[in-house]
Symmetry: C2
Subunit: 467 residues, 2 copies
């Protein structure tokens, strides 16, 4: 009896996947695959978790009273489930083209293509773009797993996403090759440019590689409390889906390149949401599994994939604002300006079961410039410092003894006071969602002012592609 | 000074890769990448091997006097190197199309395509086929690694290659979809068929999945002595390359589909040979590393990929004759007709450092039918048995006490007597190469008789594609 709801869900997912003549294709199938992915992952995670502990992939949860041993690297399960779902999704993604072109049985459709040359031909370039994205994702999962197994050094692992992104960038190069970016109207006016876009050439590939490096690593850095890695990935996916819907819902945008692009983005994100929610269920406070670097890399690469292949990497970065803030804010400790303890997790207090901001304690006096910087941050409400007044001769000097560690998690605790771990995670996720929602509105209003038009208009991508 | 030859090789590889205007493109680049792959893998294997032991991936070499501890699963290194080489190879594979079509900078080449519709358009379907093959390979490597880590049960791991082959089969379905096979002339004559080919439909996908399951598993079964897994993969790759050259060398075959198909096969196999040779160097007797299931799966899938995407899976299976024999020969033990000891490796004799056939010892009397079968095999020289004559009443009965284990490795020892491990491996590889060479000649002479023509003629594939 307990299995009844699951069997019902399975039936629903199959119905959604197989009812291919629906006007909502391929989104309807992708929802079906999301449900299937959720069920598969939900079955496999508890079934395989003990084997992870057996082969030594486990860690202690330091923010609990009894410091339980918890299986690590479980993110590999939803990641592998996702990959095989996305393989199976291919015929449904391209269903309308299959019916038109390959029903003849055995005839290569490129032959059909040249004869009947209409807009309904099989979109080989879309298929290559899709396959290259999945290849990058799978490479990321493979490298992430190797990282979790061998504990690759920080300065090496930072670049793993760039290696994994190679298929995506190379297929972009051979198959699409657009390296133009639009010039904002105000810059055109100031410098008197006539062109609407500028060709960045090879630099554009450097930019895309940087996006691919940033997304996975920034998720990996904003981590350390139960549910945060998966939670932020779920929030990011929801925000990107909201952005996609802006292009999918207005009927006037049908049959534009922007529609196709955001349709693919939706089809990639919906199943990702399915497998991530199953992982979140087990990773939420009190966590029964840890996700590992594998999951952070995997989810970051999903976002890089949709952003790069869909040409909205700037919008993507808007939704990453909290991650960008966290990275910039971490710089003083990451680059050694301020002493960086081995762990910067918030401090767990066993007595009240709450999380407190953790502190870096300075044994030696800090350089004056850094102390001044810290005092400015404190005045801005961006740092908690413990200081001491010292009277020498005839003046009073302030010496900084401790400061809260430079992470967004600690900062949230500084702002809102001590909280239990699940509440802390929830507040950060709410922050991410609110900032993302504001960015989304801003992006579709201010962008129109800066660039002279917004790409919610049907003219936008046709201008790009005519260049 | 010791590094000089390697630096020289690196320079050679770079020159081969980058000299893209050569008439030998893309084979020349693939040779360059093979050299690069050899060097990379040759550097990474000894550099990473100690870390494999550290995380518990090691095994004891039981066929040595001191039973040394040896790192296991090292096959993941050449496999990952191969994958990333094949990513980087994409622009060189399609170089001639890039120069023609995407030099305009930023224009999608499908647009160019429809206007200039000549034979020189960018081959998107070749790119998708290539990407799907690499995806299947990478999935196989990922699943192989999970198998090596978690020691998946035999009855589950047997089907892992079919799961990994999904991208290959699905892209075959959406993009190519030919499910016809040719009917041999003599069958046509007997049954009075008029068609030259028959459409197998969905059955053809079952057949391709079976090929994908067979190749990796058959390599995994013919294993157990130093160098054999990699050695047979190298021999198979060389045989397939010889078959490819039959189509690449005759000038009359240029610009036929068969030429293009075997060009791609060559480009896939040459870098595989590069990385495999570096692994063979460390895995050859006395082995410094073990390759793991990862490598067997990986190499088997490389062969399945070229066979399936190149439409010569029957020729491929010809070269697998020793593996097919080994599998069929193993059936009595695999399916429990004859007792199967936990290890069927040949027996190592510490005194003379030689390998002897290992035996299955029977505690109970075997069923009469099985004893009779064994005696027939013995008479055919296909089994070594230890028997005992027993006189009951007035007739003499023969009881079988022991028999050599049913593997090709043991059979070779039965045929040629005890040998040292490296010599044994060499003899098996020589056997494989000889049988393959005979098959190759037979395939291009007898096939012409059976099918009415050989596909070394330019008509062959055009007949197929016109159906």
């Amino acid at each position: 009896m307990q299995q009844l709801p699951k069997i019902g869900l399975l039936a629903v997912s199959m119905a959604l996947i197989c009812h291919t003549y629906s006007p909502l294709q391929p989104i309807q199938s992708s929802i079906g695959f999301a449900v299937l992915g959720y069920l598969l992952s939900d079955y496999l995670i508890p079934a395989t978790a003990p084997y992870f502990i057996k082969i030594g992939l486990f860690g202690k949860d330091l923010s609990k009273k009894d410091k339980p041993v918890i299986p690590e690297t479980i993110g590999i399960i939803p990641a592998v489930v996702y990959l095989f779902i996305m393989f199976s999704f291919i015929p449904f993604m391209f269903f309308k083209f299959l019916v038109v072109d390959t029903s003849g049985g055995g005839s290569r459709d490129t032959g059909v293509d040249l004869e009947t040359a209409d807009s309904n031909y099989f979109p080989h370039n879309k298929l290559s773009s899709y396959l290259s994205g999945i290849l990058s994702l799978e490479s990321m999962v493979l490298l992430g797993l190797l990282d979790d197994l061998f504990d690759i050094r920080w300065r090496h692992k930072f670049f793993l996403p760039a290696i994994a992104a190679i298929p995506l960038l190379i297929v972009y190069y051979v198959d699409f090759g657009v390296t133009h970016i639009l010039i904002p109207t105000f810059i055109k006016n100031i410098f008197g440019f006539e062109a609407v876009s500028i060709d960045l050439g090879a630099l554009y590939y450097g930019y895309m590689a940087a996006v691919a490096i940033f997304c996975p690593n920034s998720i990996n850095i904003l981590a350390g409390i139960n549910g945060l890695e998966v939670g932020q990935s779920v929030v990011l996916a929801v925000l990107l889906l909201l952005n996609d819907f802006c292009y999918l819902i207005p009927a006037s945008l049908r049959s534009t390149p922007a529609y196709e692009t955001h349709l693919m983005s939706t089809c990639i994100l919906v199943p990702f949401l399915g497998v991530s929610l199953s992982l979140l269920k087990f990773n939420w406070y009190p966590a029964k599994v840890f996700v590992g670097d594998t999951f952070c890399y995997f989810s970051g690469m999903v976002f890089a994939f949709v952003g790069i292949s869909g040409h909205f990497s700037k919008t993507l970065l808007l939704f990453f604002l909290p991650q960008i803030f966290n990275f910039v804010y971490s710089i003083p400790q990451l680059f050694g300006l301020v002493e960086c303890p081995r762990h910067r997790l918030p401090r767990f207090n066993e007595e009240d079961n709450m999380m407190y901001p953790s502190h870096a304690v300075f044994k030696k006096r800090l350089p004056k410039l850094i102390e001044k910087g810290m005092l400015i941050l404190e005045a801005l409400g961006l740092l908690e410092v413990v200081k001491e007044e010292m009277k020498t001769d005839n003046k009073t000097e302030i010496i900084i003894k401790e400061c809260s560690n430079f992470t967004l998690i600690n900062l949230v605790l500084v702002w809102f006071g001590p909280m239990r771990e699940d509440r802390l995670c929830f507040v950060i996720l709410l922050l991410q969602f609110s900032i993302g929602l504001i960015s989304l509105v801003a992006r579709h209003t201010i962008a129109a002012l800066l660039f002279g038009y917004d790409n919610l208009s049907i003219f936008n991508l046709s201008i790009l592609s005519s260049n």
